[in-house]
Amino acid sequence: MHLTVNGVAEEVRADPLTSLLRVLREELHITSPKAGCEQGGCGSCTVLVDGEPRRSCLTPLIAVEGCDITTLEGLSNGVELAPIQQAFYDLYASQCGFCSPGMMMASTALLSEHPNASREQIMEALEGHICRCTGYVKIIAAVESVANGSAAGGTNGAVASGGSR
């Protein structure tokens, strides 16, 4: 089955009812989408399908045949970060980091449709995403900083002095 993942055309061999999550993680070794529950209840598996946020653990491969899939790895080259990544980094929106990919992907989808999303819109977009570490405050603040333009931006600010690689 044909898929495009982070801009790369892939031919995957998994059974058509295999979840997209397992296809990404096990066959393509793209591991940022996480198996937090595999029931659609935590949001850590969220990826973009043709730009829309989807629970990859609930998405059968057959449903995304021919689609464009974007995961966190596809948001940037990892050195020059996307604004949402930079904001999560600068504002400490990650503790253990496990929910972060899903949070960032859902936020990316929201901000591409509502670049100046309000706090209410952000909270609604992240309604189905659970974080057990941070208490959500810094996550919302990070997304808000991108939405209201107060974020540092995402070009070369990736590694602040003192940060490690």
Binding site: L58, I62, G128
Partner: protein
Amino acid sequence: MTAPPELLTPTSPAEAAAVFGDGEGVTVMGGGTILLPELTYGKLRPTRVLVLGRAGMSGLERADGSVRIGAGTPVGELDGAPEPLVTAAKHVADVEIRAVGTIGGNLCATAGASAPRGDLQAPLLALGARITSVGAGGETTEDITAFLEHGTGRLVLSLEVPDGQAFGYARLDRPHTHHYTMLAVTAVRGADGVRVAASGVGARSQRLAGVESALAGGATAAEAAERAGEGLDLPTDALASSWYRGQMLPLLVQRALGQLG
């Protein structure tokens, strides 16, 4: 290892009906939000799966006094459908799940292990939706009450929901979480009287016979609410206890009836 299931991938409603046949041995997949976890966890090992994603069963059509909704319409794409269906739908899970979970899947959802599913059955019951389905005996269109009574086994093609009826809707929610409906009441005034239905009162949503009967007999909202629990065996599950549901149901009934005006 068990062989993977045979996939049926119709590209039209007619083809879907044809491959469904009488439904024997067929597992239907709408959005997949209920089915995928069962497959992943090895709880279901279907032999034939009917994939409806590209069967063209999605969309809303306005007719005279009613709206026809394709069974494959995602729950998040019901804008324009009669209220309180749209409001109830906005409370289903979260935005990502609403984008793929279908109204047909929600209508036909069986009870989950930890909580009842099928959040939209109650608004549809109260609205007097008519369900067009196929299966053994061919195609039928019937009132949703009758459809839900004869259980699973049919493939829903579309729902027709009368438009413009006065409604009331009241629900219980846990704050800041998304979850299957804990308890929600819909009241709708139709041509033949007031229909009242509740979700979260059992494996399937139910019409509140006691309340309807009281109202038909001229009772006030408060009096009718006292009969809210009649005939119900309220569940204790992961979301709420039977006792709690029993306390809250009459309050929600009163609130919903109060909105009817």
